[in-house]
Amino acid sequence: MKFLIGVLFLFSLSLNAQEKDFSIIPNKFSLISSFQNEDIFISLASSCNIKEWLAIELRYGVGTRRTFFQKSLFSKIDLVLKTDVLKKEFWVLGPSVQFSIMRLSPRLFSPIQLYSSAEIGYNFALGNKLKMSQSSYLGYRKTRFANVSKRYLYLGYAIELGLCYEL
């Protein structure tokens, strides 16, 4: 329960920022599919520019294989930092850093495997208000089984395709 409340709290910060006294105003919403070692994730994201040159994106997604075909919630929360190094009229390209936590739970509040990761990559976006994006990441992931202290470090990748709407 605490996990979900935390997720919703983070989302409400970004989605309702206009109504509260925050300086963060989301200006982009995205739907992203991410092909990675563990599963194919579908995520919803909202992002905003905390500086003119730096965007922060918060995503919530689920692993499709586990969640929909095996009815076990495989959820993921990502925090992505992006900057546009090359900026043209219809496309942008720049480096990106992604931090994630993932949780596989056959019963909603009983995880059996936990992951965390830190990855570096790039983000390419094409379009105007409606953009198509492609990102790739490579980095380290840590995983452990619930109730087992030993952690396993391994190289992980993510190849992403997304659709983004800019306000």
Binding site: L4, L8, P106, Q113, Y152
Partner: protein, 266 residues
């Protein structure tokens, strides 16, 4: 408000009564999966074995065993090294020094694993299924069964409760009797029911069989079990094939998607 509706939906969807637990035993094929994109580690690597052994919900691992030129035992599915590693040649033609440094062509860059280096096998309570590869295809000859038995016996002494935990998988009839007489729990790998029936008659103390999921029907699984034999299905990767295995209800599944099998059967 919308997110509250989404939350209620998620809670209802995942709070529904789960399917009943199954008695099917979950074995990691090649450790944590062979040729499966969701596997973190390369099949038959030490890391794959350790990883599945650490999974509290997995029941054991299956590994492919080959004998090197000097009699040491190595985990490798393929006889030729160039298919999966940065090296060339055959496992059976090389000695320990040559094999020790070989790495897989994989993201994690794992090394080729020697059987005796997998310490996690020694004191666990999980099962180990050893698929004994008897042929040296590069030399076009068969290994000596007596040599194999001697080396395996030496390794067995390091494994706790080995008589119950270790299964030998064979696919040559000639080796069945020597292994059974030496006290091993023997499973024979065959997709042919006629072969299985013959072996059951010829070797009553054979433990059971291993069969490809796509080639072994529910009727055949029930037939094997009715004779008091164990049956393990392999080549299981997708959620659909896991559901098929559940329907067939074998003794166990050697799954390439280990976590998927755990979700299905545990």
């Amino acid at each position: 408000m919308n997110y509250k509706i989404i939350l209620i939906f998620i809670v209802l969807f995942f709070s529904c009564k789960k399917k009943e637990q199954s008695s099917v035993v979950v074995i990691g094929h090649g450790g944590n999966g062979l040729e499966f994109e969701g596997s973190i580690y390369h099949g038959n690597s030490k890391e794959a074995m350790d990883f599945t052994f650490a999974n509290p919900n997995a029941d054991g691992v299956e590994l492919d065993l080959r004998m090197a030129a000097d009699g040491s035992l190595w985990l490798s599915h393929d006889e030729t090294l160039e298919t999966e590693t940065k090296s060339t040649g055959c496992v059976g033609d090389k000695n320990e020094e040559e094999l020790a440094g070989i790495k897989y062509n994989s993201l994690q860059n794992e090394k080729l694993a020697k059987l005796t280096d997998i310490i996690s096998f020694q004191t666990s309570d999980k099962s180990i299924f050893v698929d004994v590869k008897h042929a040296n295809t590069c030399q076009n000859n068969i290994q000596e069964v007596a040599t194999y038995l001697a080396v395996l016996d030496e390794w067995k002494q390091t494994i706790s409760n080995s008589n119950k935990r270790i299964y030998i998988i064979l696919n040559t009839v000639d080796w069945t009797e020597p292994f059974i007489l030496a006290g091993w729990q023997v499973l024979y790998s065959s997709d042919d029911s006629a072969v299985r029936n013959q072996l059951t008659n010829d070797y009553p103390s054979i433990k059971g069989f291993v069969c490809k999921n796509s080639l072994c029907s529910k009727i055949q699984v029930n037939e094997i079990k009715s004779k008091g034999k164990e049956i393990y299905l392999y080549e299981v990767r997708s959620p659909k094939s896991l559901k098929e295995v559940r329907e067939k209800n074998p003794t166990g599944v050697m799954s390439d998607d280990v976590q998927g099998a755990i979700l299905e059967f545990k």
